[in-house]
Symmetry: C2
Subunit: 410 residues, 2 copies
């Protein structure tokens, strides 16, 4: 009989969001009249910007005429989109990134998982803790870990704790690691990295021959001018970093699907013989062989995010969600809750009151205020005692949520 | 320094379609006035059906209103599409396939590659020869082969020759194999499998505990009522087969991107302990962790393929390409070329005249008739001496191509 990949069996069954769904459904079944407000999953709620919809309508019309019909596109993405990204997201901020170094995909979740295809099984891996679970789970699937312990930490991974004690800024690993996942603005803590912090990581990676997998999915929420939007704003990053970006959280593409990954041509890895190998060529081969590009219609929509109208409409969206974050943050602070994030990020990371455990606070909020958030411990052992609230919701729901929090805890 | 996946270094540099592109570009540079007609790559050319465009326009409008906006969808695909597929593609043909067994994706190329994530490294693999190169290359990347020999055959893979001598119907493997790729209607040979042929494979797989990876991307081109469209038309297939399907070649989605993979809940694999494990659960976990679903807009387009208008418009498209195939086929036969396929498939597979090698015939056709096809040897050693022509083109181009073939070889 065909063998399965046994590494899958190491994955913990109770994945965070399904468990939240289970508890919410159970509550709703028992309390049919409750108006539950969900501030858990980081999913956008506001309509797609008009400039983007207009561009997609036009692209569909092009697909209806023989002369302008598009079949297979380049697996790497259309030049029109790669060029718009290179100019607007990178070159405008002084990053030396060319269109050929940008690969368009249907999601950062896919790319952060699929990127592991091109790396050897023996690499050691470090992750921030708490962390977006996909980085960990995809390494488990790829066989780079042992079993999980009772706190959910997998043997063989290096966890870098991020708590209020270190201002959510992890220390460098004590033992050298080959691959490091960094996410800034951070999911789930909403913290950001200064130029100095990123420089420390870039220098570490270049000294140790490590590769940084930099997830910048939330860069559009940065309001502080001194905070870098891209790791390529740091000297030396072209030699050690891959960057992931998405249209999900800025342009509202969580249901529309478009993202990108930057692999600089100067980035190298090592073969078994000790030779150096261009990582760009490997990712290009991986994508050419296992991917067929993003829909032409969607790529035209993403391109419109860089038009004057698109930029303006996205700015309005971002400001809307940031105002939500601010309302949530102020409301929580007014009842004595210790909050982090929410300024350069759409997530509020809060310390649970009275030393409650994360899941205990989850049940308390759901039961007493009919509010859903995400237990910090679901993102890793160092998230225990913390809780995440998302600013992605309507203004009315956010204001109602704050009223309920005040009633409950005020 | 981080290690790369050394298996990538085994891949042959000269991948088929880039090499064709290189030769065509060189020819065009030297012959700027030549009107080159491309019948090489299997890419559709006719406009997207109106029913599909209308559905996608509506979906974009829904995305523009808060009340109907869609964020993250189910990673497995929306129920409306999975139900339409289960009813129309499977249950209508007597196949016992439920919507929960259907996973929507952005391409069969992705799925046939990604499916390997859930299987162990030790499985033995058989492929038809000639074969769609992605099946082979993704197994090379996953480390299931040794190096390639001078014919491009990788050590460790079992090749099942398909030539005119065996009517393009391969024999069962001499040694048991764990995984078998079958593609019907076949790319590149255009051959089909009867119920009896498929029954032989299903029985073999069930006896040996093998899994069949069945690629049915071209099923819509079947004109012969006795030929199965799905492997699930065969008793026992639910216990041994995964089926891949696509909207690329029927509804013209090569640039729009939507496909599906069927994993029956009754399909099992073996863990290292010898326990049985549901393959469906593994694929569900893989997709939930490394994929975020297909764009809502595109899924609404795919759903419209099953409306009355959509079905009618797709039928018109298929008939158009099949008429192209018929025109090509008759033209070739009129000048004494031995042709296969082209009746239940959009590909003509022809024996090169006068014992020419595949690439020799490629250069001859390009040079003398300004026609581009695909050398059979590019699909595998058993394709040597054969050549593929695609019926995906405008009628005018197909008729002009036939005139040129007649002038050249008549």
């Amino acid at each position: 009989m065909a063998n399965i990949n046994d590494n899958f069996l190491k994955l913990k069954a109770g994945y965070l969001f399904p468990e939240i769904g289970r508890r919410v459904n159970a509550f709703c079944d028992a309390n049919a009249d409750a108006n539950v407000i969900k501030l858990g999953i980081g999913d956008v709620t506001e309509p797609l910007p008009e400039a983007i919809r207009t561009a997609m309508h036009s692209a569909i019309d092009e697909m209806g005429q023989s002369q302008t019909f598009r079949g297979y596109g380049p697996e790497q993405g259309y030049a029109f989109l790669r060029e718009a990204i290179a100019t607007n997201d990178f070159q405008s901020r002084g990053c030396d990134i060319s269109p050929e170094e940008i690969f368009i995909s249907d999601g950062s979740k896919c790319d952060t998982g699929n990127i592991l295809d091109i790396f050897g099984p023996g690499n050691t891996v470090a992750v921030q803790d708490p962390v977006y679970p996909v980085y960990v789970d995809t390494n488990v699937m790829a066989g780079r870990t042992g079993e999980a312990d009772e706190n959910g930490r997998y043997e063989g991974l290096t966890y870098l704790p991020c708590t209020a004690d270190n201002d959510f800024t992890p220390s460098l690993p004590e033992q050298p690691v080959d691959m490091i996942y960094l996410c800034y603005p951070n999911n789930p803590t909403g913290s950001v990295a200064s130029k100095e912090t990123l420089k420390k990581w870039v220098d570490y990676a270049n000294e140790n021959g490590s590769i940084i997998l930099f997830d910048a999915a939330y860069e559009a929420f940065i309001t502080d001018d001194s905070i870098p939007h891209s790791i390529y704003e740091i000297d030396g990053a072209r030699n050690c970093a891959i960057e992931f970006r998405s249209f999900s959280k800025n342009a509202g593409f969580t249901g529309t699907r478009c993202a990108l990954t930057v692999v600089p041509k100067s980035l190298k890895g090592k073969t078994a013989n000790g030779d150096e190998q261009e990582i760009h060529a490997l990712w290009n081969r991986r994508q050419s062989t296992k991917f067929n590009g993003v829909s032409y219609i969607i790529q035209r929509g993403a391109e419109a995010a860089y038009s004057d109208a698109g930029k303006e409409q996205i700015k309005t969206l971002i400001n809307f969600y940031l105002e939500n974050a601010s309302i949530l943050s102020e409301g929580l602070q007014s009842v004595g809750i210790n909050v982090f994030g929410g300024v350069n990020a759409p997530y509020i990371w809060l310390k649970t009151p009275e030393g409650m455990k994360s899941w205990e606070f989850f049940d308390h909020l759901l039961d007493k205020a009919h509010l859903v958030g995400t237990p910090g411990s679901g993102f890793g052992a160092s998230g225990e005692g913390y809780f995440r609230l998302s600013a992605f919701n309507s203004r009315a729901n956010v204001e109602e949520a704050v009223q309920r929090l005040k009633s409950l805890m005020g």
